[in-house]
């Protein structure tokens, strides 16, 4: 299964390349959908295997999936699946409107390569390969960001490429330093960069080296994850990429880098203790949150608005890990899932709107509920979920993180967090509610943009609402195991004073 999950996207990519030569865009569409959905199913099966039977590995640990990796793997493939479904509607429309003159197969080729690189990130057991795959995500997605080949798209792609590559170079240096540190633990480790082996002996690493290595990693992967003040590429890239790609960037690419940071965090925390690392993450998290707050208030472009909201949510995730404890880390992981779902939905809705209204300018989009009832409803529910209103999923993770903040004694940070959330709430709803309601502009025809787009929105809405009401046992188990992996000790709700499930 491990090999299959990596091979499938590659095979699909090859077939898409074939379609590119044969000029059969529709076939590529179909192949892509087939490939991704089978990958997703396999990943779920894999994850349930792992939660029961422990980690799975292959190729001497080059591929190594534990629960945490499996969680990210499923996340990547889930979002890829809905993005693939949405792409069918969106890209067809884009081709019709001659926004792009290229063949669809090219898009699906790149999409599959992108998915492959992200799958690699989640499945590899080697820190070097982790670096390689994260760098590869940048390289592939740069083409997707610059897909429209307009001035602004090129500018965004260049900034994305340069800033992220610089960041990732730091991360490489950090990896080298960590490897160097690990070489000083003789005997057991045979020149390995496998994190699962390093983790075992992490307490014997040299602290000062590990610390500097972690700083380089944090700045490096942090750039890619979009921590302020290294986030500057993020709004540009998200706003210029084709909408399905924006959803992927925001929903999972940022999370892949966070996954990278988490792997180093696990190692470094054994050697340095949690406190220092948590403080680092907390500072980045809160700073991202605050910066995002100000920028959200003044946005005029819907996709940029969503991009800054991603910055906000990355901040929330970092803060959650920084607060630590079962609630904090669990909340952060849960928030990773929630944000991916909600943000993809919002990007899809935004994409539908901008296709319909021919603009990304917030002020020109009005009365969506009347013009496009389903998209309008999606916009409403999505923005309520995004701003953390119950009964939607993001409220649950945010409240868990906040509770962790208070109980860990970070009162100031928690209060900033709370205030920022309120201001962001106002900032986002101020825009989206006017877009949803108000009288629509004259001369717009009623109707949605495509059935596939609606299907994608529905597929996302279901878990958004359900996860706000209950966390299924399977997911709870996965998250609990992942938290145990990150914290390094067995956790359970009962130990935290919460009555156990059911």
């Amino acid at each position: 299964m491990l090999k299959l999950i990596l091979a499938l996207p590659l095979i699909t990519a090859l077939l898409c390349l074939f379609c590119l030569f044969m000029k059969k865009g529709r076939v590529a569409e179909f192949l892509n959908l087939l490939g991704v959905s089978s990958c997703f199913i396999i990943s779920i099966l894999l994850l349930s295997d792992i939660t029961k039977g422990g980690p799975k590995y292959d190729f001497e640990g080059l591929i190594y999936v534990d629960t945490l990796g499996g969680f990210f793997l499923c996340l990547v493939l889930l979002i890829s699946l809905v993005v693939s479904i949405y792409s069918i509607s969106y890209m067809r429309q884009a081709v019709e409107k001659a926004e792009i003159d290229r063949h669809l197969s090219r898009y699906y080729l790149l999409l599959n390569l992108f998915m492959f690189t992200m799958t690699m990130v989640a499945t590899t057991g080697n820190l070097g390969v982790l670096w390689i795959s994260i760098e590869a995500t940048t390289l592939v997605s740069a083409f997707l960001v610059g897909y429209y080949n307009e001035k602004t798209a090129l500018e965004a792609a260049w900034k994305y490429l340069i800033l992220c590559t610089v960041g990732i170079t730091f991360a490489l240096f950090g990896t080298v330093l960590l490897y160097y540190a690990s070489l000083h633990i003789p005997f057991e480790l045979r020149n390995t960069l496998n994190w699962f082996e390093i983790t075992r002996f992490a307490d014997r690493l040299d602290p000062s080296l590990t610390k500097v290595a972690f700083i380089f990693i944090l700045v490096g992967y942090g750039t890619k994850a979009g921590f302020a003040p290294m986030h500057t590429w993020l709004p540009d890239a998200h706003s210029q990429a084709p909408t399905p790609v924006s959803a992927l960037l925001s929903g999972v690419l940022l999370k892949c880098s966070i996954y990278g940071i988490l792997r180093f965090y696990i190692i470094a925390s054994k050697c340095l203790g949690m406190a220092y690392l948590n403080n680092l993450l907390l500072i980045f998290g809160i700073f991202s949150l605050v910066i995002a707050t100000f920028f959200i208030l003044i946005q005029k472009d819907i996709k940029r608005l969503l991009a800054y909201s991603s910055l906000e949510n990355v901040g929330i995730i970092a803060t959650g890990i920084g607060f630590g404890g079962l609630l904090g880390v669990y909340g952060a992981l849960f928030h990773i899932l929630n944000h991916a779902l909600v943000k993809s939905l919002m990007f899809f809705v935004g994409g539908n709107l901008s296709l319909k209204y021919h603009t990304k300018n917030i002020e020109d989009i009005k009365g969506a509920v009347g013009i496009m009832p389903i998209t309008g409803a999606g916009l409403l529910l999505g923005s309520f979920a995004l701003t953390g209103l119950p009964p939607f999923n993001m409220f649950m993770s945010e409240i868990a993180i906040l509770a962790a903040g208070f109980s860990s004694g970070n009162i100031l940070a928690s209060c900033i967090f709370l205030v920022a959330l309120v201001v962001i709430f106002a900032g986002i709803l101020r825009h989206t509610m006017v877009m949803a309601f108000n009288p629509p502009p004259q001369g717009l025809e009623r109707g949605e943009v495509g059935n596939w787009a609606i299907l994608a929105c529905f597929l996302l809405l279901v878990p958004i609402v359900l996860l706000g009401i209950c966390i299924p046992g399977f997911l709870d188990n996965v998250l609990n195991q992942s938290v145990s992996i990150i914290i390094g000790e067995k956790v359970s709700w009962a130990k935290e004073g919460f009555t156990s499930m059911k």
């Binding site: 900034k159 290294m230 009365g367 509770a403 209060c415 709370l418 309120v422 108000n438 919460f498």
Partner: protein
């Protein structure tokens, strides 16, 4: 059925009603009727449940499996919760009847969503009052905001509604943030989200922390209750919603905030310093006076009512605040009386404000006009509506024999009773509050003279008002129920007061009774013979006196003569000659101009060329009673935040080199910090 089943049944019915609305959307009338029927049934169940709990004093405790690991899904209905459940259910019943006729307004725009919204709104309010866990409370609390917001923007093509809704949801959410902070502080010190644990651990908290918590809860719940100066959303949002929803929001939702305040501050924190109560009283006084003052200059019927909600929240909080003052000095007897006053006024306000909003809704239903300047003469066209509105108006002014009088009277008693229990400046403060209460009631009376007079009396001042017809039976029936209840509680409040007294007794661990040995005839708080009175007796005396006068003057035997009204020699009387609402409120504007910060704007349009400029052809006089809080508090605040944001924007000027520099600086700073 036992209480547990009743509770589940109530909520299930509401859920079903919510689903029925959109599912049957093909046929608007069927969808509306089904949703209303479910609401009605749920309301009746709720009434049974609350009476069960209130009369027996047996609490209901429910635990559901944890669907989210860190949220224990538990509910607890004690007397206080049941009392508010009673208020909610009562209005639910009335609204569901009202909706049968009223919803035909909205058949063209998807009435199913209205049914969905109202049912879920009711469900979330029931959830709030019955939650036994801080997070469950929060979830329902926010759902309440969300659904009421959706109902406010129900007529979403009106930009005004959208704007009102936005202000509402943002302020409500900001309030929730305070509540969240309060809960999380409690969580930090108790390690649990359960109210029961909060209650036991609150006694160990330090005074400073308790003060902080009180501040957070006051701000949080006050935002939702609409206390001055956090009220600005209220006069915008309440009128924007359909009238049945306005009645729910004004009648019930803001009371749920009172529930929250009483539950958190008086129950969980167990009362505190003297200054808590004094603060609440000060805010209550400000709300009462400013609310009614703003209502006086308001000519939009529904907005006028909304301002009166601010006033009445003030009156309710006077009871609650006085009770807090007494609790802090250990005078539990007066504390009980004051709290009963607050709670009883809560119920009464729900009744008469619901009635008034439904009346206003009926007026709007048949005229589509909300501005009272353009109404008039409706008493002839809509006699029933006029009668019920009058009952509501008399009640809200606090005049006997209606319920408003009783609760305001008890509030007075509570406030004045403290004289013997307090010292220093507080001793004087409470009577001052009582004066404020009297003052605001007087102003309310003059305001409703305007509201009723301009709307229902004289001649119609617009085409729409001229063609108004009486509303359908269901709407009249629902208003009738409320009017009857207003009267009933006005002449025989004893039963309800004893139930409320029971609630307060368990809450404050003291005995509160209003009996005086004469059963249901009289009222006497704390058995003080001096302050007792008999509502029924008063009514009977007034009735006998007026009836006697009626007969004595021989009015029933006189033959009515019909003739033309004398018009001072002017041939025909036209509506333009009538006294206007603007004119009515002008004296108040002059007296209170410093409070209103009125701005006058005179526009002169001169006559054409040869006569110019000495002859003014048209002279327009526009006067707006400024909203001081918007102008001096909210607008500068928003402006400041936006200014900062625009300054922060400079950080991202698009230069890749600068961005690289950020990364560089971050790295260097971290490296140095690492050392």
């Amino acid at each position: 059925m036992d209480n547990k089943e009743l509770f589940i049944f109530t909520n299930l019915l509401l859920l079903l009603g919510a689903l029925a609305g959109p599912l049957l959307r093909r046929s608007p009338s069927r969808s509306s009727y089904t949703a209303s029927a479910f609401t009605l049934l749920a309301g009746i169940c709720g009434l049974f449940l609350s009476f069960n709990i209130l009369s027996t004093g047996k609490c209901l405790s429910l635990k559901f499996p944890n669907l989210i690991p860190w949220i224990s899904f538990s509910f607890f209905l004690d007397g206080l919760a049941a009392f508010f459940l009673l208020v909610i259910s009562l209005l639910a019943v009335v609204i569901s009847i009202y909706s049968i006729g009223y919803n035909s307004e909205f058949y063209k725009r998807g009435v199913g969503l209205l049914g969905l919204g109202i049912n879920l709104f009711l469900l979330s309010m029931i959830g709030v009052v019955s939650a036994d866990n801080a997070l469950v409370f929060l979830i329902f609390w926010e759902m309440m905001t969300l659904f009421s917001y959706l109902l406010v923007v129900y007529e979403c093509e009106k930009e005004e509604s959208v704007k009102a809704g936005l202000i509402y949801i943002i302020m409500a959410h900001a309030g929730t943030a305070f509540i969240i902070a309060g809960f999380l502080f409690l969580y930090r010190w108790s390690g649990s989200f359960d109210f029961a644990v909060f209650r036991t651990s609150a006694s160990n908290l330090s005074g400073g922390l308790k003060d902080l918590l009180f501040g957070l809860f006051l701000l949080g719940f006050g935002m939702k209750a609409g206390i001055v100066p956090l009220h600005i959303w209220l006069p915008r949002a309440h009128p924007a919603a359909p009238s049945s929803v306005s009645a729910l929001m004004s009648g019930v939702m803001i009371k749920v905030a009172i529930y929250g305040l009483v539950r958190m501050v008086m129950d969980l924190l167990g009362g505190g310093s003297l200054w808590w109560g004094v603060t609440v009283l000060a805010i209550a006084s400000a709300s009462a006076v400013l609310g009614v003052l703003y209502a006086l200059v308001e000519h939009d019927l529904k907005r006028l009512l909304a301002y009166h909600s601010v006033e009445n929240i003030g009156i309710i909080l006077m009871g609650v605040g006085a009770s807090m003052v007494f609790v802090s000095v250990g005078a539990h007897g007066p504390a009980g009386v004051a709290l009963v006053a607050g709670l009883f006024h809560t119920l009464n306000h729900a009744l008469f404000k619901g009635l008034l909003f439904l009346g206003a809704g009926s007026v709007v239903y048949s005229t589509h006009i909300k501005n009272i300047e353009e109404l008039g003469g409706l008493v002839k066209k809509m006699p029933w509506t006029a009668l019920f509105f009058l009952v509501g108006a008399v009640s809200i002014c606090g005049l006997p024999p209606f319920n408003g009088f009783v609760s305001e009277w008890i509030t007075f008693q509570g406030l004045l009773m403290g004289f013997g229990h307090l010292d220093g400046s507080v001793k004087v403060f409470l009577p001052v509050v009582a004066v404020v209460l009297g003052f605001s009631s007087a102003l309310a009376a003059s305001c409703f003279v305007k509201a009723f007079g301009m709307t229902f009396l004289a001649l119609p001042r617009s085409e729409h008002a001229r063609h108004a017809v009486e509303v359908p039976l269901s709407m009249r029936l629902s208003m009738g129920i409320l009017a009857a209840l207003c009267f009933l509680l006005g002449v025989m409040p004893q039963y309800m007061l004893s139930l409320t007294g029971g609630v307060v007794s368990t809450l404050l661990h003291t005995e509160v009774s209003f009996g005086s040995g004469y059963g249901w005839l009289t009222l006497a708080p704390l058995q003080l013979k001096l302050s007792g009175f008999s509502p029924l007796g008063v009514f009977l005396i007034v009735l006998a006196f007026t009836g006697g006068l009626f007969i004595a003057l021989g009015i029933p035997y006189r033959k009515a003569l019909f003739g033309e009204t004398w018009g001072c020699g002017i041939p025909a009387l036209v509506p333009r000659m009538e006294y206007t609402a603007t004119a009515f409120s002008k004296p108040f504007i002059i007296i209170f101009r410093d409070l209103y910060k009125t701005t006058e704007d005179v526009e002169r349009i001169a006559s054409p060329a040869p006569l110019q400029p000495h002859f003014i052809r048209i002279r327009r006089h526009r006067e707006s009673a400024g909203h001081i809080f918007e102008r001096y508090l909210y607008e500068p605040l928003i402006q400041a935040v936006m200014n900062i944001s625009n300054k922060v924007k400079i950080l991202q000027p698009g230069s890749i080199h600068l961005y690289l520099l950020y990364i560089f600086i971050t790295l260097i700073v971290l490296l140095f910090w690492a050392k």
